[in-house]
Amino acid sequence: MSLRGGANSILPREKGAAPLDVVIAVMAFLAALALGASLIAERTAVGWRAGLSDRLTVQIVPPAQSAGLDRETEAALVVLRATPGIAHAAALSQDQTLSLVQPWIGSDALVAELPLPRLIDATITPGAQIDLLALTHELKRVAPDSLLDDHARWISRLKGLAEAITWSAYGILLLIAIATASAVAFATRAGLEAHHEMVELLHQMGAQSNFIARAFERHYFASTLGAAFVGAALAALFFLGAGGLEFAGIEAVPFLPPLGLKLAEIPWLLAVPAVSGIIALATARLSVMAALRQIY
């Protein structure tokens, strides 16, 4: 019969609240996408770095005489296998090399006739320190057309890319937080205006501004939490769907890592409704207290 649930039940459910709920849900969806993208970027960068940090690649650019390619490859392999700290070194076969370039230039007969470089993949013993400058000189001495790549530049660029994606996601999250706060502030002001007579009555009956502010903040906290949860849930479905495509062997976006989140990462998306609710709570409180200071 009576009011259960504290000051928030003083405030009626606004008939025109649906647009705010939709706006909050959409922003939460975008925020969850940004958060998910940052998680994927971070996980992918870690994977790439782990895959490349203990590897060396030697590239033998095809010399003018094709016989020189095999000779230089053999010589480079001898040097690599004799270098302390290199656990394993092997040349990639022609088929393996072609499969590497296949996504970019295809696999028709003309490609097979292209003068592709010979690649040697070397694995470094974990923890071993290799003098790359000396190794480069030694390789150049026995195989003048060789190029040593320790992937440092590539790893550095991957790190930069991952950081750029992560910081961009944080920037998007910040913008969405500001937009959420603005929307809630606007709705709170409109709510105060709509319930002006009720607020005046409560004041007249001796309600503290805190009591009225609490009614508004709980009201907007609850509605924002619900709407943001819907948005985050939709984003979770999106990521799970993308994960399903990956599982089915379908590449959603060529050359990019799969857009799916792992199940263990999905709970991170709950941070979106939680933070949205806190933003709504704080914004509603500040807006109401500021408005009440002006009115009463």
Binding site: L3, E197, H203, G206
Partner: protein, 223 residues
């Protein structure tokens, strides 16, 4: 309890609706405030309830000079006043029970402490079977009784009522006045603005009349 000294009140640049109003409401008194429509009765009640500051003069409430009282202290003072508004001002989305319980909640009372009080009071004003009803489903007279129950439920030190029996029949009107009298007997100071002469004649109460914004003492409280 309430003291007005040479109080004047005007809204904006308009004419004075109250002029040199001076009176004292002693604690425990029962007073009728009469006057034609537009004489300034509602404005005077608003000054007592601190919803408007006077344009001039001194208003003292519960021994506090309101001109030097901090705004932060107003809510606590207002909670000592029960107000029956002419237009009821019920919250449409709340039930009759919740409307009546509102002052108790504002005073920080727990629900289990006031359920019985509220139910008894609603029964007393003849709405025991309409506790769950929303105001929109009630008649004007029923809404008025809820407004009165809300004003008295917290046993205020001062009760001010603006035409409290305007929408009820004579029998209910007399019953409500008996409720006010009972509260007054228990120590509540009562000020009722009305133009219902029948109501006033039946009571041994003091009468103050507003004429063109000036206060005329017609009758002191009879023993």
């Amino acid at each position: 309890m309430v003291r007005f000294e040479n109080v004047g009140m005007r809204y904006g640049a308009g004419p004075e609706v109250l002029r040199d109003v001076t009176f004292v409401l002693e604690a425990g008194s029962f007073t009728f405030l009469t006057g034609h429509s537009g004489a300034g009765k509602t404005t005077l009640l608003k000054l007592i309830d601190m919803m408007e500051p006077p344009s001039r003069g001194l208003v003292t409430l519960f021994g506090r000079d309101l001109s030097v009282t901090k705004r932060a202290e107003f809510p606590a003072l207002r909670r000592r006043i029960g107000v029956v508004f002419q237009d009821f001002r019920l919250l449409d989305h709340l039930s009759a029970f919740d409307n009546v319980a509102l002052p108790l909640r504002l005073a920080g009372r727990r629900e289990n402490e006031y359920v019985q009080d509220v139910e008894e009071l609603l029964s007393w004003v003849g709405l025991g079977d309409r506790m769950r009803a929303k105001p929109a489903t009630l008649s004007g007279g029923e809404q008025q009784r809820i407004a009165i129950a809300r004003a008295v439920v917290a046993r205020p030190d001062l009760l001010i009522a603006d035409e409290p029996t305007g929408n009820v029949d004579a029998e209910i009107g007399q019953r409500l006045i008996r409720l006010f009298a009972e509260l007054n007997r228990l120590g509540t100071t009562v000020l009722i603005a009305t133009h219902d002469r029948a109501l006033i004649e039946g009571m041994r109460a003091r009468e103050m009349r507003l004429v063109d914004g000036r206060l005329v003492e017609l009758r002191t409280q009879r023993p």
